[in-house]
Symmetry: C2
Subunit: 322 residues, 2 copies
């Protein structure tokens, strides 16, 4: 039976420009399960090759405002951008109770689609939902697709890092560049933005980043073609620097295409998605196993100090694969 | 053969007070593998029941300084505290290049052990290393054991949330309490600290937290015994409020003991550790599978749009369990 929420019907309507159907498809993606799998099967062959831009950085760095400016530049350029804003999950609220998203209303229009996504429960949901949402946007001919994430957790950094072009936003102030480095953001950056560049310490932040890039050159971050992430001073409130960020993204894309890196990144993204899907399926099996009476007995024995946690885990592994 | 790094020998020396042996044991924990499993087997039955205190919050909230004050109070009280400071992982640096840890030198002494831990590669390492380190500290009769984490990623929140008592530190300023809520910190908090309480907005932050606690009361966060996390105004620079935080931790511990929740939390922590260990073992199997020629062919077919990523993952699941 074909219902109003049938993925095939929704996809057809979304591809013909029906925004509400697109919104419903993204809900299908968020919810996961069989309908999301079916949607993946239908949308995967429709690949259009939109540019995927990740925008990430610490909370309060001005990611949303910069994303808004970039989106506006895309619209002016005649593009059809989509924005996916990812919120950290919360078991109770299911996401943000107040979000950055409200600030972006001023650019919302027909040629632009903005969606915020909250993943419930465990972080694995995010790793599956983001590629799913990208696939849907791409099949509906949105391009570029901007993914905005708070660059603070491993999953969030992974999500940002699998974009075609990853923009890392830092702000002036002692330690911000250092914090970005600690969070693993420096390794995934293709373009750096020092935002709020009118504030004291902006030049220091730039110097810190240059120094870290010099160091990472030694450890091999710079690829064979000699690409080095540019550092752009910006002020997203008055729009300073947004043009330059936009150009840097285009330059990086050209670099990816000319060096064959674009295809490599896409293959890598797909492999990561398949692996994350597999891990998710295995996770369900692990949950079932943990609820079994065998596992409960083993956990009680561990609690009584008769079995070590390491030994208990190995016993359970045998049962999982046995 | 018994070597200098033999876990049994190291554990014996650490338990007789040799600080260097304790440091080496923590390195064994960090590195994981067979030696860490052996250490787990040896240390697990030595459980002394130290109080585990998690201190978490956004970067720059003043966690380290507060932890320092609490540690000093513990020493004055005649306790033997240990601090485990967890750094976000970085593939390149293997952790912090500049860390909060330096600020805590002023309290270091014989009755105190401070260790910072950086986990390499993937976030799973942290979920295994922290319980391992707690076990070692506990076996060596350190009590309380304070775990300081940046409360920003799911793994970090999980780590903080599995302590006996979790202290969540926020600072004044619009949205900080909201950010803490988005990151899932509110659900795991047993004690709130509004740090830097001399700054504008401190009362607002307190009100925001009270409001969120009122809301969470509706959704059932407050347990049946009526425990509600206290909100303490503090200024970790001049030490204001640290005494009160210390007392709140002791009160929460008494609450856990009188309601039987302490045993429940300990069992939950052990079950989570066993599950994380199992997931880690499975992860190795998944990595091996992903590198197989079968998987490579399947990924290429996915890349050619002939196979959907969802279908590819199911095929791989069959091979993993087949």
């Amino acid at each position: 039976m074909t219902t109003a929420r049938d993925p095939e019907d929704l996809l057809q309507r979304a591809r013909s420009g029906e925004r509400r159907a697109l919104g419903q498809l993204l809900t299908v993606v968020e919810r996961g399960g069989a309908a999301a799998d079916e949607l993946t099967r239908l949308a995967h062959p429709l690949f259009n090759g939109a540019q995927i831009v990740g925008v990430t950085g610490a909370p309060g760095a001005g990611k949303s405002t910069l994303t808004g400016k970039l989106t506006r530049l895309a619209v002016i350029n005649g593009d059809r951008p989509a924005v996916l804003a990812v919120d950290p999950s919360s078991p109770i609220t299911g996401g943000a109770i107040l979000g950055d998203r409200v600030r972006m209303n001023d650019v919302a229009g027909e040629e632009l689609f903005i969606r915020s996504m909250a993943t419930r429960g465990h972080s694995g949901g995010l790793a599956l939902a983001v590629p799913g949402a990208i696939r849907v946007f791409d099949a509906c001919e949105y391009d570029p697709i901007i993914i905005e994430t708070v660059g603070v957790g491993q999953v969030e950094v992974d999500v940002a890092g699998t974009a075609d072009t990853t923009v890392v936003v830092v702000t002036p102030g002692w330690g911000d560049a250092v914090q970005a480095n600690k969070a693993g953001l420096l390794e995934v950056a293709d373009v750096f933005v020092v935002n709020k560049s009118d504030r004291p310490g902006a030049d220091d932040a730039r110097r810190d980043l240059e120094m870290m890039l010099d160091l990472s050159h030694v450890t091999g971050q710079e690829d064979a073609s000699g690409y080095r992430p540019p550092i752009i001073m910006a002020n997203s409130l008055d729009g300073t620097g947004a043009d330059e960020v936009w150009k840097a993204i285009a330059l990086h894309r050209a670099h990816l295409e000319s060096t064959g890196q674009l295809a490599v990144r896409r293959r890598g993204r797909l492999a990561a998605e398949v692996r994350n899907r597999l891990a998710e399926l295995v996770d369900v099996s692990i949950d079932e196993l943990m609820e079994s009476s065998d596992s409960r007995a083993l956990l009680e024995s561990t609690n009584q100090k008769e079995t070590s946690p390491a030994h208990a885990a190995r016993q359970l592994l045998d049962r999982l694969f046995g």
